[in-house]
Amino acid sequence: MNAQSNPGPVDFDLSRGRVDRRADAETKVGHDDQVVLVPVTALAGLEKIAGAAVTAQLARSIGVSFGSRVAAKIGSAEAVAKASLEVFVSALAGEVAVSGWGVLHLERWGRAMVLVVDHAPALPYGMLAALLEGAVSAAAAREVHAVALAKGTGDASEARAARVLIVSARTAEHARRWLLDGASEAEVIRRLHDDVPRTGGTA
């Protein structure tokens, strides 16, 4: 991990009972964010209580915080758009790892952008996809939609990876429908690159 990917320390102030995400000490950019440690089981129970849309909104807000920190780290949203993939991925992966959401890397399948998270916590992949959607949107200052290509929940003890497709809103609707029809990850990506007319989706 290079210097640009350093997410900054987590300050545990036991006298005041405060945990802060410090800004990058080297670059002196960004600001401190006060955080709370929330058990994973609490987040998992929230989906059962409040539903998937509420949980996804919560996760997306967490991701926005990550993206804001990345953009602040890189400089700005324009800088992020002009930054290399390695710089962006490194900055975002640092934020994800410090917050305990797993190990992030990027895959490019043809023209499609896929973010992969290894050792993700035992939470629904939809929640993870909402987190990354918020992070990329905040970092690049562009509206993107994320679709989890696999169903189920993550498991930090396993090496199972959670792949999240970053596409437009219309394409995300098609991908979600194909996944509900039982298409695999590779099949969804292959269909995205075909020129066949996409039915059922909103352009």
Partner: protein, 303 residues
């Protein structure tokens, strides 16, 4: 009656004759001496006289009673000795074979000792009266056997008549002795041909080999014989399974010089292939590779 019995009888006679010879001689009247001899003979072994001996005795007596012309031209009266069975010849050497299978030569004057089992016969002139009468002749046969050598003393036989009579008796004894012996089988009578040793057959130099090795060696003593190491090795070698014949490693055969080229030889023509590459690549594979996150977002959002 085998030879042993005859020898035993001869020993008995020898003892008796020796006793008589050692006894002092005295002049007796012929009739008295004859009677005395008969009485003595009857006392000695009247029952042991065998028919053959009897015949010999009768023959001797008959010859002795006949008028003879000895050297001294004196009539000799033979005194028969009943059991004196001897073989003797006063003039000619007699081949005697009563006792041992080996022939025995008897010499008239000097004893002949032929072999360990030979019989030495000695004829002695009896020291009888100087002027004997026909009835006054005394035949004294002495037989001495010492260690297998029988010495027979013939005393009183100085005339040809007595000797010839004894010759007849000896002939009878020869017949008797020969009767006990069996003729060897025909297979044993054939001449034995000594085969040349293997060394001679192999090398042809038998004289030197025989000179080095004696023809016979003394037989080993009775008892347990320890085998010599060489004998043991020979025994084991004869008992052991013969080792498989291991062929010696083949000697490197000299490489034969190449045969001279034949008149017909194939001429090979090989193709010449150009080094130019048959494939030509033009242009580059269109691979979208966004350099920045913005380009990637544009491509992925365009899907």
């Amino acid at each position: 009656m085998n030879v042993r019995e005859q020898v035993a009888k001869l020993e008995g006679l020898l003892a008796r004759v020796s006793s008589r010879r050692n006894a002092p001689r005295k002049a007796v009247e012929p009739e008295a001496a004859h009677a005395e001899a008969l009485a003595e003979d009857s006392q000695v072994a009247p029952a042991q006289t065998t028919p053959i001996e009897a015949r010999v005795a009768e023959a001797v007596v008959a010859k002795a009673m006949a008028p003879v012309a000895p050297k001294g031209a004196e009539p000799v009266v033979a005194k028969p000795v009943a059991a004196a069975v001897v073989e003797a010849k006063a003039v000619e050497p007699v081949v005697a074979k009563p006792v041992a299978p080996a022939p025995v030569e008897a010499k008239p004057a000097a004893p002949v000792q032929a072999a360990a089992s030979a019989v030495e016969l000695t004829a002695r002139r009896a020291e009888g009266p100087k002027t004997p009468k026909p009835d006054d002749v005394e035949l004294d046969f002495g037989v001495e056997v010492e260690e297998g050598v029988a010495e027979i003393d013939l005393e009183g036989l100085e005339d040809e008549a007595g000797i010839s009579a004894l010759s007849d008796s000896v002939a009878d004894l020869d017949t008797v002795a020969g009767g006990d012996r069996e003729e060897p089988p025909v297979s044993s009578q054939r001449p034995i041909r000594v085969e040349p040793p293997l060394e001679e057959l192999a090398f042809g130099d038998a004289d030197s080999i025989e000179a080095k090795q004696p023809p016979h060696s003394t037989p080993p003593e009775s008892g347990r014989q320890a085998a010599t190491p060489q004998a043991s090795e020979d025994f084991l070698r004869s008992r052991a399974r013969p080792a498989p014949a291991v062929a010696p490693p083949p000697a490197p055969t000299p490489v034969a010089p190449p045969a001279p080229p034949a008149a017909l030889a194939a001429e090979v023509t090989r193709p010449v292939i150009a080094a130019a590459s048959p494939a030509v690549f033009r242009g580059a594979l269109p691979i979208p590779r966004p350099a920045t996150l913005g380009e990637l977002l544009d491509s992925t959002l365009a899907l």
